[in-house]
Assembly symmetry: D4
Homo-oligomer: 165 residues x 8
């Protein structure tokens, strides 16, 4: 099945963070593709990726990058699709540089930014975007949310049980 979501990252070292986005998509049976595309080291490849994404059938692009993180914004500049940005934390500054470099985009070119290291939420946000026009996927998302509630209820019970011992 042709991928609906592209998951790209600036460096293969980002994979340990970004894998969670791919897993979330897989949980919802959303077809996706994965790639390493660097804003700074493979500019032409990034241009090609971004400018052809919509025509290749992608609906959403998830991008992860760290430090002076330019990939999300640059891709958003070259596609009409919604672009999700994941601030990848690097060795210093706890991802605050990544967050600001991704979220503080100028008017005209939005990036849908999630939390520092929040790749799982990037995947889930892509699912919601697709679900907005796909009733079946919307139902799955509702079920997922109901399940979250169930998991917390179980943890609550377990904590009380431990304390009451």
């Amino acid at each position: 099945m042709a991928p609906s979501v592209g998951v790209i990252m600036g460096s293969d070292s980002d994979w340990s963070t970004m894998e969670a986005a791919a897993l979330a998509l897989a949980e919802f049976d959303v077809p996706f593709e994965v790639g390493v595309v660097s804003a700074h080291r493979t500019v032409q490849k990034m241009v090609d990726y971004a400018t052809t994404a919509a025509d290749r059938g992608l609906k959403v692009i998830i991008t992860g990058a760290g430090g002076a993180a330019h990939l999300p914004g640059m891709v958003a500049a070259m596609t009409p699709l919604p672009v999700i940005g994941v601030p990848v934390p690097l060795k210093y500054l706890d991802g605050m540089d990544s967050l600001l470099s991704i979220v503080q985009m100028p008017a005209g070119v939005p990036v849908a930014t999630v939390s520092i290291g929040g790749a799982r939420n990037a995947g889930l946000l892509a699912v919601r975007i697709l679900a907005a026009s796909d009733p079946e996927l919307l139902a799955k998302m509702r079920a997922f949310q109901a399940n979250l509630e169930q998991v917390v209820a179980e943890k609550d019970e377990a904590l009380r049980a431990k304390l009451l011992g």
Copy 2:
């Protein structure tokens, strides 16, 4: 026409910031509704708004809030739709508190965060989300992007002209 996008904010004083989201939607002829819904002062109204949004036909919800900004995350918790958060800057801290309160959501409940005060981009992101499954809107977004390019070209020319006198 039934609204596709809901634009809500925690206080009517946020309107001066959030109006830009509404204007962006209007530019693309995307029908929307506007309201004041406070996470802290009108909890039940917020619950009702969020839990019924998808069934009422909304596809995207844009939320703006400042300080300990809980509206975007709470709405996201109660709807399967994509939720966009606009950090509204208050009197102190330049919106950094608003940004962190919106973007640092736990795994499971994403909020698509835009820049501090970036309501125009929130509107444009909503358009992109809708355009992902609407070829006509996608074409409009491409045209919009081409026009951005044109505007910069004109400003470039004007600047050079001014310098060359």
Copy 3:
């Protein structure tokens, strides 16, 4: 004995931080209850908890949450009781996001915020609140404070002794 204080947290992983609040309450023989209640994953449960707390006889609610920490503020919005918030530090940002998300509440809905990870102080603050109208508990708090002084005096002596060896 019916609990006077409710200690709730957004995730069972917060227990390692929040346990200190429960221990402080136990030191003062203040009856309390404990639970996992997530603002984002169990909204209805949170609403039920907060709206019934006063009628169930609780006098104070201690809440712990991390990141975009919405639990303290949301509970405070739905109860007339004093709500204490503990910013739980997560993997990045050292709890600064948790702190700002809890303390920067809008006018009308206060959260009594303690230090990052400061659950023990949350418990002691709850004791002080109860003690304000309970002379016996007030006396216990005075004794506790006198003892703090004693402990420092002993540590001072020990340090001097070590140096004089």
Copy 4:
């Protein structure tokens, strides 16, 4: 009527911020006293104030201070009563120094911290603390919260009316 709440501040220039605490108390007919007590310039007065507060019948102390704000923590060290701290923003740093100096108290001595400049919430928090053991005041707080909801509903209506013009 003997005051139940003491409202003190480090400098008379803090009054423009702290007045909102007094107004909130007055709205709830809670008797209070006001004073200028500086941790750094009137140490003995501060010691006297804090050590006698409980015996003088106070139930809660609200303290406001800016910069290296020591008044809230020092008062909390010398009284068994709950102490509320208001970070007063000074000329630089937007009150971040005031906030950290107040909220980051060591284990043993809690200060119930509210938002930067959040004196109104300090007053409301004091009311909640008193209301925890005063059913009549609790009912007033519930009414106050219901009214907040009403005010937002009216603002919502006004905003929609303006837009529909």
Copy 5:
């Protein structure tokens, strides 16, 4: 004379900040060109500018941008020339987002970053870079530095005179 330095900025509103770079170059009689090139709104123009800069005879490129400032890093990715980045402060965050977005570049693609709003220093840095292989320009820079010293000496004298009255 063919320009040695290119001065480009993401928006014509950056000119009020960036003009100081042009003035510094003019003081040293270094030929330069000026343009508006947006990383996000005129991607192809930016690619063309950067990839042809060296062949067109430029030796240094000065770039100014604000917020999620991608222009300096993207240009640096596509030219072998030294690229200087000026963090332009926007309405919020005092340019801290601009600074981090420019300076925190990944290994392989350096941007020579100057202070927030420091366009004059960007111009002077470009002069130093050119002067490193141009003895005449180096002499001018030495003279400029000696003059800075003279100006301070005069200000020192004026201050002392004012005080001595």
Copy 6:
């Protein structure tokens, strides 16, 4: 010999940081005393310490504290002697809270603040203060500074040697 410098800290756990101040004083044969004095847990002891320090013959007081670090400022409020503050870093925030709580003192009550964890410099600063009116100690400080220079020269040589292999 009667101590000239008092080295006090809020908790015995601060000793691992503060020991370096004592060692620096010992290197210069400056007599000193050490103690644990908590602003929050032993208020009266702190008051006694600070108000009697000058009469007991102390010339300088070095204070270390972390988090909402009130000891340095409170001691400074109660003694006419110069007070040096060492921001002790705690588990979160890297000592930024300690630094701001110590350095941002209001006009009238200065604290001579050194770097985060910079207890060695606190000791050396005390030596300089004493040396300002003690020619012999001033000579020792000059010798110490000359030696610093020598140590760097040796490290420089060692590094070059290693590289030249």
Copy 7:
């Protein structure tokens, strides 16, 4: 009378901030000198100033600088005297850059740092340093502190009077 304190600053524009240091010294009849000495623009002058200060009879040097504020640390490196640093706030960052550039000195070379813009406290700290070995000045400082207390008492009374109307 020969000056005991030198007050220097990096730029004459710092005078509006630094004047308060001079005024504080004048209040205590401490003789001082004033000058503009730039770490970056008049290096040799700075070296001369710092290396001769002790021999010229100065006991303390007060330095003010903003941004990448190097003057305090450089002077401290070249004199055995105590050096006080005043972080001067510039147009952006509220003086946080100035503070960190002054206070975070490496082991071996302390700078006694006061608050952002805290020149008055720098003057008072210099007085305390001189007073440590000058009983008459110490008595003056005690009187000054008693007066601070008196002033607050009057403001307290005035505030109460205004409220009681």
Copy 8:
């Protein structure tokens, strides 16, 4: 061959960070020298180094320093050459103090700042500066950049291969 680039650092402990600058220069066969020169501990040596650098044939100076990092700015004040600054992260604050102390230079004295710990980029920036007037080196830089692209392409392929298993 006479060195074109000087690589100096404030402490030999900075070598683990700064080594990457030397390696980058070596990759491009750019001759360089290395040394430990402390702004605070070896002022005269620093003055000598900076004032003679241009005459000794250096074209660029790379400087690394941490905390209140004064070496880059002081060297830039005393040479007409381009000076590159590497913010070395110390134990606390993740290098934010180092960054601000280096980048926030006053108008007149620029330092070309790279990322926190970004010594490799400092080396590459020096190469670019030299390459601006050296066609052969410019060609090498172009080849280096092409190779970066190739490396990413291989990593991309490897990641896809791993996922497709």
